[in-house]
């Protein structure tokens, strides 16, 4: 079960595909922090990938940081290994940090269940939106851009119009 709205972001310090470790504290100057439970192998993640890249680019100048987290069990899903993460990030020129949560501690701390699954934290690092990026994996049929709307609202000092949605996608692949 995922963390409740208003819960503080859990601490993490994880290796990124850029060769550096990244911690929650490192993003301290960000107005908003978007943690996205993600991975390489899931078609739902891939279907939303362009939109996530665009969101990271579009809001970077407004102090919004997007961070992808892969926590999947690489023993059973080798496509999600750290090496494969590096390849994916390079191939797609990710505009966001992509971190490897090998011991799955961050996924457990967030209560993440799916990929992709979004956790949007405000400046005080309280959870303000949780769920899907938008309402359709098919970008041609999107009618509600939940994450963008929540970011816009928080940047404007307002409440997100929608605070929780169902994240439809693959399950997080837990270690047995």
């Amino acid at each position: 079960m995922s963390i409740d709205l208003g819960t503080e972001a859990p601490f993490f310090e994880l290796p990124g595909v850029d060769g550096f470790d990244h911690s929650l504290d490192e993003y301290g100057d960000a107005k908003l922090l978007v943690l996205v439970q993600s991975c390489n192998h899931c078609p739902y993640v891939l279907a939303w990938e362009d939109r996530l890249i665009a969101i990271a680019q579009d809001y970077a100048h407004e102090g919004v940081r997007v961070v992808g987290i892969n926590s999947n069990d690489v023993a059973n899903y080798p496509e999600d290994s750290f090496e494969e993460m590096k390849k994916r990030a390079t191939k797609r020129d990710f505009s966001f940090d992509y971190l490897f949560d090998e011991d799955q501690s961050l996924a457990h701390a967030l209560g993440a269940e799916h990929t992709p699954e979004v956790f949007l934290f405000d400046e005080e690092r309280k959870l303000r939106y949780h769920g899907a990026i938008d309402d359709s994996r098919d970008e041609t049929t999107v009618t509600n851009s939940y994450l963008r709307d929540a970011i816009d609202a928080l940047l404007a000092g307002d409440e997100p119009p929608v605070t929780e949605t169902e994240a439809i996608g693959c399950t997080v692949k837990w270690k047995s």
Partner: protein
């Protein structure tokens, strides 16, 4: 025979079944879809199941290239004609397999 193999850990099979039923109706066919749940890695290996959903028409996968992926309990990746990724086959793939 039309078979749809699925894994409950992936949410795409109802959408795939609905699309398959739609295409069958449009082609004027009333074939029954044989649904098979794949529950374990061993079953995935035995059934040569490269991910959910997998649709076979008379034993032939509707996406022969994708069928070469290693057997696994996972969501299967399909590519639409415009290059986008989808968790279900395209209508065109199903139509081609059923003609």
């Amino acid at each position: 025979m039309i078979e749809l193999f699925y894994w409950e850990g992936c949410p795409s099979h109802p959408e795939a079944k609905a699309l398959l039923e739609q295409v069958l109706a449009e082609l004027g066919r009333d074939d029954r879809i044989v649904m098979t749940e794949v529950k374990s890695d061993e079953e995935a290996e035995r059934l040569r199941f490269p991910g959910s959903p997998t649709i076979r028409v008379d034993g032939n996968d509707v996406d022969r290239e994708g069928a070469k992926s290693r057997p696994a309990l996972t969501c299967r990746i399909y590519y639409l004609p415009d290059g986008r990724v989808s968790p279900v086959p395209s209508r065109g793939q199903l139509e081609a397999a059923l003609r």
